[in-house]
Symmetry: C2
């Protein structure tokens, strides 16, 4: 994928047994607003239908290209990652994430192939068997006293997060393209922490009574900062200079 | 406000001259789903109306308590922060933010008083005069080829971000309550960078040919990490030890 392109073409929305055709149209509109185009309908009650076309309001191209299938398996056969949306938090213990996290994971997976967002029936959501087809479940953290969103409203929120995640990924790629050094590896970070421990002992800064507490604070600080290779080299250079030694700016294999 | 409470009671939604009563009902449902309750209607074409009640689908308490006014000024009189939603990015240069940023700012402002989210007419959005009443404008980054969201869909996205921002603020307050040290002040950071420059010169690490480049890299690293006061003390302690001096763990006023 090019750095400059926002691409949601690999994300499909799958609607299960939708009873109101107006909802199918409203979902199509929400999808097109957010730049999605692949709509799958599993056994809709009424489709095509004038109510669907009217609520789609200009997104009727998505209805025309919608793929109607008999079973959920047909809709998911070629997908590499599947997220199920359900207002009800079932008793089965399946990983549940918020829309933001789910969207990021779906976009990541979409680099390997098509991914699907499965929306349940208006009244009853997804069955346990359908939930078990999913890698993740997504839950919109709604008002617990009034938590059931309209089908199109839920799709709007979830596709909005997909679009925001796609925009954020574009930004990250642009920044990465501009970055001068790669992130440090874990081995390089281990080398840095070992060097800190030795050098701080040499210059008599490390408190022998509690070496771990200081080292833990330093780890927390530098792990949080996500150092690049040059920053590791600079810090090790400072430590070597403090020890009165010369540190060579070379990559090394600390194993 | 208690740390354990999610409170969106100070956030109102203001609908301008809504033409379809069904949209008012759908907005009320979206608001209640996300935990908002204050609905203001500026000169709606038809209200109350059976279509509003039917689309509200259980959120009719918000319709019953909705406040109908003649002008936008009446709806905003007691508000301390106002955000206007507009699909059209006008020629006037007003600060435009995405829904996530706007929601955070609104929640922050709501600690001082009521805040308002103003939604424009279905067909024409907000007029320039109405936009000028706003502190911020919010734009949902939609598909540029099909960017106009339905009124209730836009409200759903914006109130969803408000709820997510409120949840995030609760988390931050919980974390802050657990944090052991406060963030370092700018003066303390300046003291740290000065100390780096002197100490690195003392231990002959700073390259006299390009002192600024190294210092810029260190600033970028430590600014990114957002140091707390104890971390600044530790780093200065290390620098002093490297210089062969003793650094006292005391707060100092570097002015």
């Amino acid at each position: 994928m090019m750095v400059s392109e926002l691409d949601l073409s690999r994300v499909r929305v799958v609607l299960m047994h939708t009873s109101h055709p107006g909802n199918i149209g409203a979902v199509a509109r929400a999808m097109k607003n957010m730049g999605l185009s692949q709509l799958y309908l599993v056994k809709p009650d009424l489709f095509p239908h004038s109510m669907a076309t009217s609520r789609a309001s200009g997104a009727d191209d998505l209805l025309a290209s919608a793929i109607v299938v008999e079973t959920l398996d047909e809709a998911l056969a070629d997908c590499c990652f599947v997220v199920g949306a359900s207002a009800r938090l079932r008793s089965i213990s399946w990983p549940v994430h918020n829309p933001h996290e789910c969207a990021e994971r779906m976009l990541e997976a979409s680099e390997d192939g098509d991914v699907a967002l499965v929306m349940g029936r208006e009244q009853s959501g997804l069955s346990n068997e359908e939930l078990e087809r999913c890698n993740y479940l997504v839950n919109i953290p709604a008002n617990p006293e009034y938590s059931s969103l309209n089908l199109a409203a839920a799709t709007q929120v979830l596709t909005y997060e997909l679009r925001m995640a796609a925009l954020a990924r574009l930004e990250i790629k642009k920044v990465a393209a501009k970055k001068d050094y790669r992130l440090a590896t874990m081995a390089e970070m281990d080398g840095l922490y070992e060097h800190f421990e030795v050098a701080l002992t040499d210059i008599r800064f490390l408190n022998p009574a509690s070496p771990r507490k200081l080292m833990r604070r330093l780890r927390r600080l530098f792990n949080r900062a996500q150092l690049d290779e040059m920053e590791v080299n600079i810090l090790r250079g400072i430590l070597s200079a403090a020890q009165g030694q010369k540190y060579h700016y070379e990559k090394e294999d600390k194993s």
